[in-house]
Structures are given as structure tokens and as C-alpha cells.
């Protein structure tokens, strides 16, 4: 399986999960599917066989509301059976809407409140440095999430301690709760802010697997935290969801689900 096929399968699972669970945040889940696919397929040293090993990499999904895509990625990659995804958002199961590690193999850390994942990833990266281990720490944060002060606190600390084993990927889909980030509390110029904080900042098309992998493998950060601004489209892959803030909240009904799955099938088989 290549990352394109992984992303295709994850998108379909995520859509089915939110339809069945009548859960929200599908737009946020879809915007980062390609990033997750490249991370788990081609970059991270994390597999069902080494999730307890000291040399594994660490991955934290800080924008925990996109959990459906992470659960689906882990299932497709064999951390737990795919049919478990049917339990998403169902009473009496471990699969909460925001990512939880309890009872779900492969989830490193539970999140849901924004601004938590990056500081924790910083601690993991620091521990790896202290112990001279090869473990790298990767975290996906939402762009709106970069309004949380705790993230900038952690970046200052990580830069000070030269944590070049920490990679932060910002899912820059530009939409937050009401509208565009720039019409809420403007983030731009985001790259120069990050560079001024001592990070090594790269910008990629967050749906281009080659670009994503190239940025992940880039070793020019030279003692600096690597931050990848991944420009994405919220709701990517389902045209009626793309760039529509309402899909932060709504779930597709059965008819909408069929249309979405058809479109994703069509795109995959055309490629």
C-alpha cells in the first residue's frame, strides 16, 4: 500500500464513521488525511510491532477533534482491526470524538483541548535527547490552534534547547470556528513569526504527498525545531465540504455520504 491508497482508505473510513456516529469535525479530519498518510506510511518509525519500544518515534495529534482520521489511519495500518472503527462515537466504546489513548492501540496521547500536544511533544523530544535515543517527536497542530499561548511557550523552550528532533506540522486549512483565521485573530505572517521564534520553517502543499515527505525528510534544520506549514483545504476530497465552515459541525447524511464516497472513489481510480 502506498500513501495515496492509505489516504484514500482513511478518507472513506472517516466519512463512514462520522455518518454512523452523527459526529462533527469531518472537515478538520479530511484536511490532514494526506499528512497522516505520509507520516504513517513513509516517515514515522511507529508500527504495531514497536509501539512499546524505546526507539519508536512519537506522534501526537494535537488537534484532537480530527480524531476520526487518526483512528482510521491506525486501523488501516494494522494497529487494531478495521471493523473496530464501527464503534466511533458509539456509547460504551473507547472511541471518543476527540482522540483518546485509552483502549486504542497506537494512540500515543489523548488530546481535545487545544494547545496541549505541542508542549507534550516537546517533552518527549527532550527526553529522547537526554537519553541519546533516536526517537523523533512529531505533532500535528491546527492553524487556529496556534492562537494558544502554550504553543508559543513550548516553541521558545524547544528552540532554546535546540530540539531538532521535534517536527511540528501546522494543518493550515485557514478555517476555524466561525470563519477564516485571518478574519478571526490573524496568524499571518505565520512563517516569519515561527522563524523569529528560532524555528526552521517550511511551507508545503499539504495534499501533495511528495512535497510532504520531502519536507519531513529535510535535514537542513540544523539544531532547530522543524515547522512545516502544510497548506490544506478543509474538507479536502469532498467538493461540497471543501472550504465550508459548516462541515466543522455537520455530519453527512446517508445520501450525502454516498455522494462523498463516490467522489473519493472517482478521484482515486482516476489517479
Amino acid at each position: 500500500m502506498n500513501s495515496t491508497e492509505l489516504a484514500y482508505r482513511v478518507r472513506k473510513h472517516a466519512l463512514v464513521m462520522v455518518n454512523k456516529g452523527k459526529s462533527s469535525h469531518i472537515g478538520s479530519a479530511l484536511s490532514m488525511v494526506d499528512i497522516l498518510a505520509v507520516l504513517y506510511n513513509d516517515f514515522l518509525n511507529i508500527s504495531p510491532l514497536n509501539i512499546a519500544s524505546d526507539d519508536r518515534d512519537y506522534f501526537i495529534l494535537s488537534k484532537g477533534h480530527g480524531g476520526a482520521s487518526l483512528y482510521a489511519t491506525l486501523a488501516v495500518k494494522g494497529f487494531f482491526p478495521v471493523h473496530e472503527l464501527d464503534k466511533h462515537y458509539q456509547n460504551g466504546t473507547p472511541f471518543s470524538g476527540h482522540v483518546s489513548h485509552k483502549g486504542i492501540p497506537g494512540v500515543e496521547f489523548s488530546t481535545g483541548s487545544l494547545g496541549h500536544g505541542l508542549p507534550v511533544a516537546t517533552g518527549l523530544a527532550l527526553a529522547s535527547k537526554i537519553d541519546n535515543r533516536n526517537s523523533r517527536a512529531c505533532v500535528i497542530v491546527g492553524d487556529g490552534e496556534m492562537m494558544e499561548g502554550s504553543n508559543w511557550e513550548a516553541l521558545m523552550f524547544a528552540a532554546h534547547h535546540k530540539l531538532d528532533n521535534l517536527t511540528v506540522i501546522i494543518d493550515r486549512n485557514r478555517l476555524q470556528s466561525f470563519t477564516d483565521t485571518e478574519n478571526t485573530v490573524a496568524l499571518e505572517p505565520l512563517d516569519s513569526k515561527l522563524n523569529a521564534f528560532g524555528c526552521y520553517c517550511l511551507e508545503v502543499d499539504g495534499h501533495d504527498h511528495v512535497e510532504i515527505l520531502k519536507a519531513l525528510n529535510n535535514k537542513d534544520n540544523d539544531g532547530r525545531v522543524k515547522v512545516i506549514i502544510a497548506n490544506t483545504i478543509k474538507g479536502k476530497g469532498v467538493s461540497y465540504m471543501e472550504n465550508k465552515v459548516v462541515w466543522h459541525y455537520k455530519f453527512p447524511d446517508d445520501e450525502q455520504l454516498r455522494a462523498a464516497l463516490n467522489e473519493i472513489d472517482g478521484d482515486f481510480y482516476a489517479s
Binding site: 524505546d54 512519537y58 489513548h101 500515543e108 496521547f109 489523548s110 488530546t111 481535545g112 483541548s113 494547545g115 496541549h116 505541542l118 508542549p119 507534550v120 511533544a121 516537546t122 517533552g123 518527549l124 523530544a125 527532550l126 527526553a127 529522547s128 537526554i130 537519553d131 526517537s135 517527536a137 499561548g149 502554550s150 504553543n151 511557550e153 513550548a154 521558545m156 523552550f157 532554546h160 534547547h161
Partner: protein, 304 residues
């Protein structure tokens, strides 16, 4: 107490390289030797409490035994959600250590009075809470905390001149210490104010037969031990340098209420207010009625 804390941590760190001390830019004059001795085990997180707890949680997730030090409110309230979601939910070995319990920093003002910290920490699942009353117990608490899985809160104050140090009773987390055995009245106190309570009990010694229970662990507690003790008395009083709501007083009230114990019970502490008055610890204790003299007067007015 801080000196004993760092003494104990230095002892532990010399044989355990996984112990890490993270400070929120506080501890000037106390931590320099530790940093010099164990450079890879000491980090100053800067003035950034939220990320400090997140970073500490990440370190603990990777196997470190982390002690996070700051002033009372800064290490509990400023970063409360990080403590709840990151340290408690993941049951990580993140040990919060605060200097400045109660009115330790008295005249510095309201911002530095840690008077709701116990109530807030007590509401958190998986949390162990220790408020030792003397330096010796502080040392023992640190030694025992590293063996307790999950997060903890160690509430320290400055050492007092009247500090008891009862070597005949060993310190064990979760087991309150009976510092003075009496008959009619049971005084239950936590933290440094235990010393005021003990002095008061000794002062009224000839007139009243008073017991003093050092309730150095707020959580977890053995309900059975406490219940057996409370049942022996006609009158029980809780004394804390903290709000009466949510802390020790509430804890004892819950035990009494849920077990239908027939006892007269009174809570002494701060009565639901933030203190505006300026003064040192002794002055503020007197002001809210938990210093030795206030407790003596209170005891003398009890009608058994």
C-alpha cells in the same frame, strides 16, 4: 521545607538518572547545586507554566520521574487543564511541588496566597496530595512519592521556628499521624499550621484533653482509619490554612456525613474570601483565627 525537598531529591537523583527537576523559574539560591551536579536532569521551563506541565508530561511519558517546582498557585491553577488532561488522564509521574502553601508569602499579597490549591487538586482523579507539617516529613514524602505511580502535589511552606519533628512517628503517605493523644476533642490539621494546633493543644493541656491528628496526606486517604478515630470523640475540629470549602474541612465533613457519625464538627480556615489585608503568615493566621492563641481561645469556649 524547600531545603529538605531539594536535599531529598539530590539524594534520589544521585542513584536514579531518570529523576528530572523542572522549575518555573523559581528556587533561586536553592537549586544551583542540583543543576551543577545533575546538568541533564535539571531544566528551567521559564515563566511559562502551561507548557511547563505539558513538557513535564512528555518527559514522564518517556519514562522520566519529573518534579515540577513553582509557587503554589502557579503550579496548580495557571496550568490546571494541563495537569488534568496531560498528567492525570495519562496517569504520569509528574510531581508538582509548590512553595508557599497558605499564607507563606503573606505580605506579598493575594496573588501569592495559595488558599484554594488543595481543593482544586483534590478534585482531580489519580492525584496524590501531601501537605507535610515539618521538614523531616517533607524529606520522607519526597522519598515515597517517586514510588507512587501517577501525578502528585506536594504542598510546602517555609520551615517554622516552632516546627515539631516527631521522630517517634514515621511518615507514611496516606496514614495520618496522631501527634498528641487526648480524649474529648480531636483537632485535625494539615500543613504547617499543624504546629500552631499542637502548641495550642499543649497550652490547654491541663484544662482539656485534646488530640492532634496531622493530616499530612489529603489524597488518597484511608476512610476506615479516619472514621475509627473520629468516632472516639464528642467534638472534632478541622484546621487548615486554606479555604474551609473544598479542602480538609470538606473532606472530614464528607466522611462524617456519609457515615452518620454523631459528633459536633467545626471547620476553621478561610471563610470563602480572598484576603485583602496585608501581613506576614503569623499575622494572617491570627486574622483568620488559626494561630495558636486563636485556637486556644476557640478550645476554651467549647462546651462539651
Amino acid at each position: 521545607m524547600r531545603a529538605k525537598f531539594i536535599e531529598a531529591l539530590t539524594y534520589l537523583a544521585s542513584s536514579n538518572k531518570d529523576i528530572v527537576l523542572v522549575t518555573g523559574d523559581l528556587g533561586f539560591g536553592s537549586f544551583e547545586q542540583f543543576e551543577k551536579k545533575f546538568p541533564g536532569q535539571y531544566f528551567n521551563a521559564g515563566i511559562a507554566e502551561q507548557s511547563m506541565i505539558g513538557i513535564a508530561s512528555g518527559l514522564a511519558k518517556a519514562g522520566k520521574i519529573v518534579f515540577v517546582y513553582s509557587i503554589g498557585n502557579f503550579v496548580t491553577m495557571r496550568c490546571l487543564e494541563q495537569i488534568r488532561n496531560d498528567a492525570c488522564y495519562h496517569d504520569l509521574n509528574v510531581n508538582l511541588v509548590s512553595q508557599g502553601g497558605g499564607f507563606t508569602y503573606g505580605a506579598l499579597g493575594m496573588s501569592h496566597h495559595a488558599t484554594e490549591d488543595i481543593a482544586i487538586m483534590r478534585a482531580l482523579p489519580n492525584m496524590t496530595i501531601c501537605a507535610p507539617s515539618c521538614s523531616k516529613d517533607t524529606y520522607d514524602a519526597v522519598l515515597q512519592l517517586i514510588d507512587i505511580k501517577g501525578p502528585s502535589y506536594l504542598r510546602l511552606e517555609k520551615a517554622n521556628t516552632n516546627e515539631h519533628s516527631d521522630n517517634s512517628l514515621s511518615y507514611e503517605i496516606g496514614i495520618p499521624k496522631m501527634l498528641k493523644e487526648g480524649k474529648d476533642i480531636l483537632l485535625i490539621a494539615t500543613g504547617g499550621v499543624v504546629n500552631e494546633v499542637l502548641d495550642a493543644a499543649v497550652t490547654v493541656g491541663d484544662e482539656l484533653n485534646v488530640s492532634v491528628f496531622d493530616f499530612h496526606t489529603i489524597k488518597p486517604i484511608n476512610h476506615h482509619i479516619i472514621l475509627q478515630e473520629i468516632k472516639k470523640y464528642k467534638y472534632v475540629v478541622s484546621i487548615e490554612e486554606h479555604q474551609v470549602n473544598g479542602g480538609l474541612g470538606s473532606l472530614i465533613a464528607e466522611i462524617i456525613a456519609e457515615n452518620n457519625v454523631d459528633v459536633f464538627f467545626k471547620r476553621l480556615g478561610i471563610n470563602d474570601e480572598l484576603i485583602t489585608l496585608v501581613g506576614d503568615q503569623a499575622y494572617l493566621r491570627d486574622n483568620i483565627g488559626i494561630d495558636k492563641n486563636s485556637i486556644v481561645s476557640f478550645l476554651r469556649n467549647i462546651k462539651l
